[in-house]
Amino acid sequence: MGWYVEFWEQLVVWFDWKLRPPSAAGGGRSHAHEARCARRPPLPRGKAEVRGDLSVGLRSLDLAGAELAMAAGAGGIAPAAPSLVDRYFTRWYKADVKGKPCEDHCILQHSNRICVITLAESHPLLQNGKTIKSINYQISANCSRLQNKVSGKFKRGAQFLTELAPLCRISCSDGEEYTVSSCVRGRLMEVNENILDKPSILQEKPSTEGYIAVVLPKFEESKSVTEGLLTQKEYEEVVVKRINNRSETP
């Protein structure tokens, strides 16, 4: 019976995916490829490559010299220059995912629209004293995120994810179990297999090496995919509110 439910779930997800109209000003084009090609401006001469990413990859361009001087003078204190995540990504948050208190997720959205799903600092798993026993990508009898196979430039064959889709289940030594959810709609690119071998990475570097999954939203939904999420500032306010509430109740 379980497989039946699973099958219907996937079918519903698939239909939702296919039938939801693109919200961006793409003129109602449903095919991502056409939308991409149609958006290219006419080429006056030579070839023009339309790129979606405005990233400038290096930590600090012309400030390197000043940084070095600062670093040398201050006895080698690490410069407060933007990190890898700061440079390329925008942080979005979802608090109390699936109604579970404090199970906050942080979505790192790259300027090229790719989303990296990570745990937010306030998540119970990242608090002191938690030891992760195991991480399981088998989210149901018929679905393992590890079996996700993606091929070609258009990433065919990827598992479709809605906001509530589970990515993995994490068990702790104290018996608690946590589910990490996608929080964004899109195609699953990959899940982090490095944390299977060494779960502590998830707690040591939750924003980089300890990421959970990489999701590619539809081209038309590049901007709208974060509509239900909190900005860094909004998230910080939520956390402050929680602390205040806690201190108020005896």
């Binding site: 490559e49 790129r51 080698g76 993606v150 990959e190």
Partner: protein
Amino acid sequence: MDRKQGLSLGRDDIVQLKEAYKWITHPLFSEELGVPVDGKSLFEVSVIFAHPETDEDCHFLSTSCPDCFKPAKNKQSVFTRMAVVKALDKIKEEDFRKKFPCPPNSPKSFCSAVEIECAHGAVFVAGRYNKYSRNLPQTPWIIDGERKLESSVEELISSQLLTVFKAESFNFSSSGREDVDVRTLGNGRPFAVELVNPRRVQFTSRDIKELQQKINISSDKIQVRDLQLVTREAIGHMKEGEEVKTKTYSALVWTDKAIQKKDIEFLDDLKDLQINQKTPLRVLHRRPLAIRTRIIHTMETHYIDEHHFRLHLKTQAGTYIKEFVHGDFGRTKPNIGSLMDGTADILELDVESVDVDWPPALND
């Protein structure tokens, strides 16, 4: 065909009509215009003739093989080349001899020249370019019709060539490319520009040298060297370089942990280090997800201070250097951070050399 008696004609025994035409007309053109004729010249004059009488030559086939000539929506005339060839296959030799005289009748009217077009085959200009700006893309950076960054390597080089060669358009290609924020130092990166339908093609080597100077004066963001005319085969050489040849780089690395000189020395001893790189997140939206195995041939470190060192590396073509330094969320393994058991990031990257010995170096 009567092969047995050895009297049959093979295909090569019959002179092709167009060959006969060339043998007759070329000397006539030559005499009239006072120039030698070259069948393989890059300069092409195409003349389109019309002769309704000849058009109707094959119409008799529609009576003998009507089913070959079915009218279709897209065809102007029913008598397409394919249809005519099909009908000629079908028709019996006796029928053909009856309907079409051999030799054919003399035409009653002259043909008329409908269109004359002159065009010159593409010429190729190659060289090597240096890039000194950390704010210059290889190709124009345009999103939604809006230019995001001023100019580009290809425009700075090709626009000058376009003007001087009086060409219609250009195609710029190079042996690999670098990011917007990466400089190209040393001997530079090989490139080739295809100039389409140039109106001027006669250039002395002095002319080309002057053109090179002109480009170099026009911008301080890029410089070119070894500018020269090359053949079409050039492009093949260059693309071979992209896939096969090694490159050397210089990176300014930052570490989160405080380091001493001895902490980075071990990197100098690593030879032919194999790394596995998943498609970097920053290009994953437009490239397939895959794992690439690449070799870091040699590394050389220069200690700067507790959190910085310069890393020189020589790598296999196609290696993502930035990702090798910062690890790309652990998706490039091993990476500088993992090798040093900490976190590393890249502040600056320069291409020191592109190890392709093409185009031939010129003594400037």
